[in-house]
């Protein structure tokens, strides 16, 4: 078998690219969609691209969605390609999510959490019934939505931060004590995963993992191929202020903020070593954008992989190598779509082997030839 250089198709490829672009306008009498419109009116899709691209650049994420005709995998790929061309200027100081400016905060563990539960913009209570009026939404009605909601915007007396539910559980001795770990985290953008990997590598890989991939593996655990049995201790959505050192004074200054979703799940309790009290185990998930399914699935997988690390993996979702090598959308999409590329030589080889096998069978009827069968 060999590879041969071929040429041809350049014109077809150029025309295909042109057609793909024209497709956006061939749909009739419509206007070009603004990148800002994608960011503000499709925030959940936009958030997926931010997190799966691994780069919090809202403008480029919106542009990527526009350019990719709404394909979140292709859009995330564009963000990854862009980031690979950019210099690395800094690593931020350690950020603590207790300083998040929340827009949503719920707990499935307790109804009375310190600071209270606030639903924020939640899709959970929709009835999944069509609102056909949105098919013909006019500009005044659309603008009135925001105007009416903003009407009587009061000066609310709310705390700037809210205590974490897990800290309340820890204070009651229901969780294991934890001391801050400041080891340098694993940088998945610069080093390949060689197993076993530290937990920081697992969290970073899942943070930019594909939502569906994470969900599928976490779902296998939920359905019985595993025993995390999670309770959502707390789910938060909000803006994390980003601080970086001032170039002159070195003092931390606020350089911007990122929207993130964060989830802590409380799982089954475990006996502690050395006769200490048993405590609940925990899992953690977080990602750019508003993506609750991803944060919950990540937290479940974090917990299941910790269990696998401690007791040995008994299910796929407890095997870090299995999970982490299959949740990246760009890698899996790339492998999948490469099958569309010409495989003329390898397939010719398959044809040759099949024909040889068929010829052998004709020569020796009734005798199976397994040597070349796949």
């Amino acid at each position: 078998m060999s590879y041969v250089a071929i040429k041809g198709g350049a014109h077809a490829i150029a025309q295909s690219n042109r057609l793909l672009d024209a497709l956006r306008a061939l749909g009739g009498d419509n206007s070009p969609i603004e990148a800002a419109t994608i960011e503000t009116q499709l925030p959940l899709l936009h958030g997926r691209v931010l997190s799966e691209g691994g780069l919090y650049h809202p403008t480029l994420a919106a542009l990527a969605l526009k350019q990719s005709l709404g394909d979140p995998l292709e859009a995330a790929f564009m963000l990854r390609a862009y980031r690979s061309t950019q210099p690395r200027l800094a690593t931020t100081p350690i950020h603590d999510t207790s300083r998040m400016r929340l827009i949503r905060r719920i707990s499935a563990a307790f109804k009375d959490i310190p600071g209270g539960q606030m639903l924020g913009p939640a899709p959970d209570y929709l009835q999944r019934l069509f609102r056909f009026d949105l098919l013909d939404e006019d500009q005044p009605t659309f603008k009135a939505l925001a105007r009416d909601w903003l009407d009587n915007l009061a000066e609310e007396e709310l705390p700037s931060t809210f205590p974490k539910v897990v800290e309340a559980l820890r204070a009651e001795g229901l969780l294991a004590e934890a001391d801050p770990i400041d080891d340098e985290p694993f940088d998945i953008t610069r080093a390949p995963l060689v197993f076993p990997v530290p937990r920081s590598a697992a969290l970073a890989t899942m943070a930019r993992g594909e939502t569906g991939g994470l969900l599928a593996l976490a779902y296998s655990n939920m359905r019985g191929y595993g025993d995390v049995h999670p309770t959502v201790g707390e789910l938060r959505v909000g803006y994390l202020p980003i601080t970086l050192p001032h170039p002159v004074t070195g003092e931390p200054i606020e350089a911007g903020e990122v929207l993130i979703t964060e989830c802590e799940i409380v799982a089954m309790y475990e006996e502690a070593d050395g006769g200490a009290k048993p405590t609940f185990t925990l899992g953690y998930g977080a990602c750019f954008g508003h993506n609750e399914v991803k944060a919950i699935a990540m937290a479940i997988l974090d917990r299941s992989m910790q269990a696998g690390r401690t007791h040995g993996p008994k299910n796929p979702s407890e095997d870090a190598e299995f999970v982490l090598l299959h949740v990246d959308g760009i890698e899996s999409m790339g492998f999948c779509t490469h099958y569309k590329m010409p495989h003329y030589i390898t397939f010719q080889s398959d044809l040759d082997r099949l024909r040889t096998t068929q010829a052998k069978q004709v020569a020796r009827p009734g005798k199976k030839d397994q040597t070349n069968a796949r």
Partner: protein, 155 residues
């Protein structure tokens, strides 16, 4: 409205009208003989996060960062520094905000105009904060036992 602390100036100026920021910075650059103290740079930073269950740290992803540092001539003829670091990829904007930062920090001529822009930006941020607070307070869950008074009846 009081002027926020220096650590919030960059963000406030990013929230202000970008054209107004650039125009004012250009004028004050000429006035104070601004010169770059190093090349403005744009690139990425890794965002390091402490997770809350084992207090371990990991990289959540990357963010765009632009940074600039400038030297400005003060009335005594000596040069003073201004700087900016933004979650943005525009070195032009970073350089402009670095000029405004230096002018305001050292109370050079034009500091009042910069302070006005900072306050305008801060006003925008405060309004955004009020909207977010309303998102929370208007959707606060009012738990009560079945049949008890206090069931959620308000719209």
């Amino acid at each position: 409205m009081t002027l926020p602390e220096r650590g919030l100036w960059s963000r406030a100026l990013m929230a202000a009208d970008e054209e107004a920021v650039i125009v004012l910075a250009e004028r004050l650059s000429l006035q104070h003989d601004a010169r770059p103290a190093g090349q403005p740079r744009a690139g990425l930073a890794l965002l390091r996060l402490r997770e809350s269950v084992a207090l371990d740290t990991f990289y959540l992803g990357e963010i765009p960062v632009a940074t600039a540092r400038v030297a400005l001539r003060a009335p005594d003829g000596l040069y003073v520094d201004g700087g900016a670091v933004l979650m943005d990829d525009s070195t032009e904007l970073a350089a402009a905000i670095a000029v405004l930062d230096g002018v305001l920090a050292h109370d050079l001529a034009g500091a009042n105009e910069v302070a006005d822009l900072v306050r305008k930006g801060q006003k925008t941020i405060d309004r955004e904060g009020r909207i977010r607070n309303a998102m929370l307070s208007r959707t606060r869950v009012d738990f009560a036992l079945m049949g008890e008074a206090g069931d959620d009846t308000h719209s």
